[in-house]
């Protein structure tokens, strides 16, 4: 077993009265994407800042590739890089100047720095924008120049703090593709996100954190199965049939039925061990017998939204609370 990329035990950071990080225990294996999932204010950014040597912990210990983040900060810095929540590049400088500056600071001589900047700009589709100030870039381009800056020296560990917050779907997909390539190349990625889908799609393991501690940890599959075996999602043709459909589902499956915001949609947990599909089929049969037309149905593992709700008793984000 190789040494973990990150190991923390009892990590604490206090701001005034707030315990932003409150006894965080993490062990991040090297060579994969590790997702840190939690709502706003859960302590994700604070934790990342401590691991990236930007903040001093108030308690506990943290090591990155075996180096203590306080006592051996310099050794940590030579192996990590950080793409913060806000663009970690100089907005008044051009894309090219930013990369040349960083390349110089990482020890490249001038010609090599220019060459490295040019090849990164090319790979990230920014050659055309190379001579423009970063403040004129779109959100997606900014994120790309930021990530390009972070992989200038191909770090062993890359922190991505909410890399897709505020991006449109296309740019978000681009970032995901980039992350996959970076990981395939051998860099460990610690990704924080408040998007459950993002953690599910990218991360091999996920830590769910809330109020500065880990409340669940495992592969996306493990987290889902810890909550329940699955759910059946049903969409009716006619909204007026929903109360009757809900009654029948509750009766057959013997679990509470969730009425979605969409007036024709319902969801119910299926609790049977091993015979979920049989139970779901029975429930659908009852709907058909009652003459209720089903347009669409699916049986699936619970979403990470449901996982979060089950683990914390509160929704992951305000938007989901409204749903």
């Amino acid at each position: 077993m190789s040494e973990p990329a990150i190991h923390t035990s009892g990590l604490v950071k206090v701001f005034g009265d707030t315990r932003a990080v409150d006894g965080l225990d993490l062990s991040v294996p090297a060579g994969a994407v590790y997702g840190v999932l939690g709502p706003n204010g859960a302590g994700k950014t604070t934790a990342v800042r401590m691991l990236a040597t930007l903040l001093r912990p108030d308690g506990g210990e943290a090591t990155v590739f075996g180096h203590d983040v306080v006592r051996e900060a310099d050794a940590v810095r030579s192996r990590v890089s950080l793409t913060g929540q806000y663009a970690s590049v100089d907005e008044e400088m051009t894309g090219s100047e930013n990369l040349v500056l960083l390349a110089r600071l990482l020890g490249h001589r001038k010609p090599a720095a220019r060459e490295r900047a040019a090849e990164l700009l090319e790979a990230f589709g920014l050659t055309e924008a190379a001579g423009r100030q970063v403040k004129t870039y779109s959100g997606g381009m900014r994120r790309r120049i930021d990530i390009a800056a972070s992989i200038l020296n191909t770090p062993d560990l890359l922190f991505l703090d909410e890399p897709t917050t505020g991006l449109d779907p296309r740019s978000r997909n681009q970032v995901w593709d980039i992350v996959r390539v970076v990981v395939a190349h051998g860099t460990t990625v610690l990704l924080t996100t408040q998007y459950l889908e993002e953690a599910d799609r990218l991360a091999q393991r996920i830590a769910v954190i809330d109020h500065g501690r880990v409340i669940a940890e495992g592969t996306p599959g493990e987290l889902k199965s810890s909550v329940g075996s699955g759910s059946v999602h049903v969409r009716l043709r006619d909204a007026s049939a929903r109360p009757e459909a809900a009654r029948l589902l509750a009766e057959t499956l013997d679990t509470p039925v969730h009425l979605e915001a969409d007036p024709v949609a319902l969801t119910a947990r299926v609790t049977g061990a091993g015979d979920e599909s049989a139970q779901a089929a029975r429930a659908l049969g009852r709907l058909a017998e009652a003459g209720i037309v089903v347009d669409d149905f699916s049986l699936g593992q619970p979403s990470l939204d449901e996982v979060f709700l089950a683990l914390t008793d509160h929704p992951a984000t305000p938007e989901e609370a409204a749903a």
Binding site: A52, S81, L106, Q174, D177, V182
Partner: protein, 279 residues
């Protein structure tokens, strides 16, 4: 538009990306000097992109020189030209030392930006970020000094020390200003916003520059004020610069300025770096 094309046509090609990730040997980390110079280069680029910031180092010194030469010249020395021989080294010191406070404002504005996080996670000599700033600022101080010297010459300033004396005077001023700027980098890191940095700066600079020997001979002041004025580092600096430009270097005063510069860097440089690491 190029924005749109770049946005819509980009799709990350795995091979291209993988090729730029190829683990070429990492170069050795840059020396303290090289890292500082690189940050100095950043300061130059900032001047290139935001040339408005040169307003402080051109218009302000011109205004100061004209204003005080003609305001006090007739009353204090008989004529503006005669007063200028006395005033110019002092007004140069005042203007440049006043400009140093923009360093604090700049540091304060920058520290809030994400790019500082990146600098602080780089494996480089820690003070180089700040030293780079100050190297850029020294260039600004040099420009301000030159502007004042030129306008002075135009108005009739005739330094006895000649080119060498003037050059040495400006050099000494730059050394002191570089050292003094560490006070502002400290405040820039300490204060919550640029307004409070500005507030503190004015509070320090106003008395420090006016209660000195820049405008009038301290022997005309009441005794208690003379004590203060003669102890002021600005007075020592002005006396030194005057002596160099006047062709009669006052070694004692010059030594005093150099030693206090070293002390300023040692004290405020250390405090700045402590704050920088804690931020």
């Amino acid at each position: 538009m190029s924005t749109t094309t770049a946005e819509t046509t980009y799709s990350p090609a795995a091979e291209t990306l993988a090729s730029v990730l190829a683990p070429a040997a990492r170069p050795p980390r840059p020396s303290a000097w090289s890292a500082s110079m690189t940050f100095g280069w950043r300061a130059m680029l900032k001047i290139k992109h935001v040339p408005e910031q040169l307003f402080d180092v051109t218009a302000f010194p011109i205004m100061m020189t004209l204003m005080f030469t003609y305001l006090f010249g007739g009353a204090l020395a008989g004529s503006p030209t005669e007063y200028l021989q006395f005033l110019l080294p002092g007004i140069m010191v005042t203007s440049v030392v006043m400009i140093t406070m923009y360093t604090g404002v700049e540091v304060n504005k920058d520290i809030e930006k994400g790019v500082f996080d990146r600098f602080r996670t780089l494996p480089i000599w820690r003070p180089s970020t700040m030293v780079g700033y100050l190297l850029g600022d020294v260039l600004r101080y040099f420009m301000a000094s030159t502007v004042i010297l030129l306008i002075g010459l135009l108005l009739g300033f005739r330094p006895q020390g000649g080119l060498t004396g003037v050059a040495l005077g400006i050099a000494l001023l730059l050394v002191f200003s570089f050292a003094f700027s560490w006070v502002w980098t400290m405040f820039g890191l300490l204060m919550r916003n640029e307004k409070s940095v500005m507030g503190v700066s004015m509070l320090v600079m106003m008395p420090l520059t006016f209660l000195s020997n820049v405008y009038v001979d301290p022997s005309t002041m009441p005794g208690w004020l003379q004590v203060f004025v003669n102890a002021s580092p600005i007075s020592h600096l002005v006396t030194s610069v005057r002596s160099l430009m006047g062709g009669t270097p006052d070694v004692g005063e010059i030594t005093w300025v150099l030693v206090s510069s070293a002390v300023l860097v040692a004290v405020f440089g250390t405090l700045t770096m402590r704050l920088y690491n804690r931020k």
